[in-house]
């Protein structure tokens, strides 16, 4: 039973436009949410995170929005660049940081 879901396996966006990646979770005990980016044949790398006490966190071109009542978070990338083409995973944890639950990933393709 997946506790973190990314329902869009892929997304294609034109360079310069906005990319919106979505993630849903079921466990109301999750307090921390993270986004990772993964290139082929590499391990995931951390991108941005948000705590459940906030509804928005911004870092350069990347913004994560959290809607706790809907148990939904999204990652916005503006403007999208070809180098952003990768698989994006969302992950969630409680405040013990013992266990992280990952979504199945969304493959983003940014077209030049």
């Amino acid at each position: 039973d997946q506790q973190v879901k990314q329902n869009s396996p892929s997304l294609s966006v034109q360079e310069g436009r906005i990319s919106i990646l979505n993630c849903d979770y079921t466990n109301s005990m999750f307090d921390y949410f993270l986004w990772y980016k993964k290139y082929p044949a590499e391990g995931p790398t951390f991108l941005i995170s948000i705590s459940s006490i906030k509804d928005k966190n911004e870092d350069g071109r990347f913004t994560v929005f959290l809607n706790k009542s809907a148990k939904h978070l999204s990652l916005h990338i503006v403007p999208s660049q070809p180098g952003d083409s990768a698989v994006y995973f969302c992950a969630a944890s409680d405040d013990n940081f013992n266990k992280f639950y990952f979504g199945s990933g969304t493959k983003l393709n940014v077209k030049p």
């Binding site: 990772y36 590499e42 995931p44 705590s51 966190n57 940081f97 992280f100 639950y101």
Partner: protein, 118 residues
């Protein structure tokens, strides 16, 4: 600073063989994790450790064992390999602290080990 290193990069095992996947980190992180990623799926937690001598099961621990005798190393042992264990294995580490407002306990991942069991 090498970060998280994993060996080997690739391995093919026969059914019933055993092997150990090595993982080491040089960031003095207390928390270490083992994940597996099957095709088209997310990462599933196998085992984790919150410090030397302390380990616990994740979501999918069956068929695996771990040990943590030092802060740096966290090997994953596969006994009696089965085709269902064909996967890419990632090791990760983190400080285990809340961290800064923009970085809540991010995990640092190794490059992965691609294992095939035939």
């Amino acid at each position: 600073n090498a970060g998280v290193t994993q060996t080997p990069k690739f391995r093919i095992l026969k059914i019933g063989q055993s092997m150990t996947l090595q993982c080491a980190q040089d960031m003095n992180h207390n928390y270490m994790y083992w994940y597996r990623q099957d095709p088209g799926m997310g990462l599933k937690l196998i085992y984790y450790s919150v410090g030397a001598g302390i380990t616990d099961k994740g979501e999918v621990p069956n068929g695996y064992n771990v040990s943590r005798s030092t802060t740096e190393d966290f090997p994953l042992r596969l006994e009696l390999a089965a085709p269902s264990q064909t996967s890419v294995y990632f090791c990760a580490s983190s400080s285990g602290l809340a961290g800064s407002i923009s970085s809540y306990n991010e995990q640092f991942f190794g490059p992965g080990t691609r294992l095939t069991v035939l």
